[in-house]
């Protein structure tokens, strides 16, 4: 929209509204918040997917054909919930926290 004031044409800008649409990593690359990294140990994994179910940020993915879980370290904040819920095999957890 343009208005003319004292022979001067002024362009009126549109307001910017604080609208957020669902997107990957809308709060930025949160992986750099991490001080401990959940490390995956494949031989202890029983594919129960409790880690995938429990991850508060949805950074654990499971491949389509019932494969092992995969952690997206770009967004994983290192909260450790996945390690806590992991039942493991013969009391050996498939996830453990290791310093970055």
């Amino acid at each position: 929209m343009k208005v003319i004031i004292l022979n001067e044409e002024i362009e009126l800008k549109d307001p910017v509204l604080p609208l957020g649409r669902p997107t990957l990593g809308s709060a930025g690359e949160t992986g750099d918040w991490r001080t401990y990294r959940p490390k995956f140990i494949e031989e202890n994994c029983i594919k129960c997917y409790k880690c995938w179910l429990s991850c508060p940020e949805g950074t654990i993915r499971v491949d389509a054909h019932g494969e092992y879980p995969y952690i997206d370290y770009v967004y994983c904040k290192g909260c450790g919930v996945c390690v806590h819920v992991c039942p493991g095999r013969k009391k050996q957890k498939a996830l453990e926290m290791t310093p970055e």
């Binding site: 002024i10 604080p18 609208l19 957020g20």
Partner: protein
Amino acid sequence: MVQSLEKPQIKLMTGAEAVATAAKLSRPQVIAAYPITPQTKIVETLSGMVTRGEIDTEYINVESEHSAMGAVIGASLAGTRTFTATSSHGLLYMGELVWWAGMTRIPVVMPVVNRSLNPWNIWPDHQDAMAFRDAGWIQFYAKNNQEVLDLTICAFKIAEHHKIWMPVMVCLDGFILSHTSAQVEIPPQTKVDDFLPPFKPLAMLDPDDPFAHGSLTDSKGIWEQRMSLIDGFNNACILIPQILTEYTEKIGRLGNYMIEVTGDIKGAECAIIALGTMGEEAEQAIELLSEKNIKAVVFRPRVFRPFPKKELISLIRQVPRLLVIDRAVSFGNAGQLAIEIQAELYAHEVSVEFHQIIKGLGGMDVNYADIAAEVEKILKEE
């Protein structure tokens, strides 16, 4: 209330009733408000109108002012025209969400019936609204019940203009306006409908196209928002007079000025600047002064945010001295109106004799004789 469709109706009503009538004529779809003295009569009148079926509005009974603003923010985002009203402590309690509405651009209209703050005092001063001067709201200060009605209707059009899109406060002095009856001309509904078309949302919450409003934002996002708000106020500076002109043409009376000038500016020895009812009192003061052969003029800004800088400076250049009367204080400095005018004087290198006083805090009476005496005192001192 039976109202003819075409001719304006003249009624004796209080400022609070004028607000309620203006709200009714503007057809808000959602009203949520909590009663507080001296705003109570607004809520009372509106809820009566809703109960009697005089307006088609969703009236939400809320448990606090905080909830009232929360409800209207939600309702506005759902695509409805919204209205609330408050005063003093209610405004402070609403505080967090007042800023929310301002910073995230919610076009709600809220009359604020000015009342003093702590300790307990129910009488008028501008301290409550001034506390929210910087909250991203447009602020009007009305001088009489008629202006209260006219500005409230205009406020909806201003808030909802797609190049402005921000909340509007219409400030009226508690009791002096809110509880004092005066003659008010009520425009017919057809004319108001012609001036104020139905609400057109800029963005509307929609389950089929989901988005979050005001969610976590990084510094870049905040910067973008704040700069846009500055642009919005610049737009408002240009568009408010246009909208007031449209109101005056379609409905009448109001005038399109940001600052009302009363008296003869030529040869005036002193200009009195004051907001709201003190501005109207000053109009009486200049008559009293003219009997004593003192020429004075009144500049009454009726828009305080955006601050009408250009208009003010062009007026101030024509007078030799100023008397700014504030009804609120920015503690540690001076009255808000005085501070802002001084800033403009410096920015535009205007040399004028500047006087400021604070008057009428906590509802202390300020009548035209007091104002005239202040002007005389200034002139005598020289």
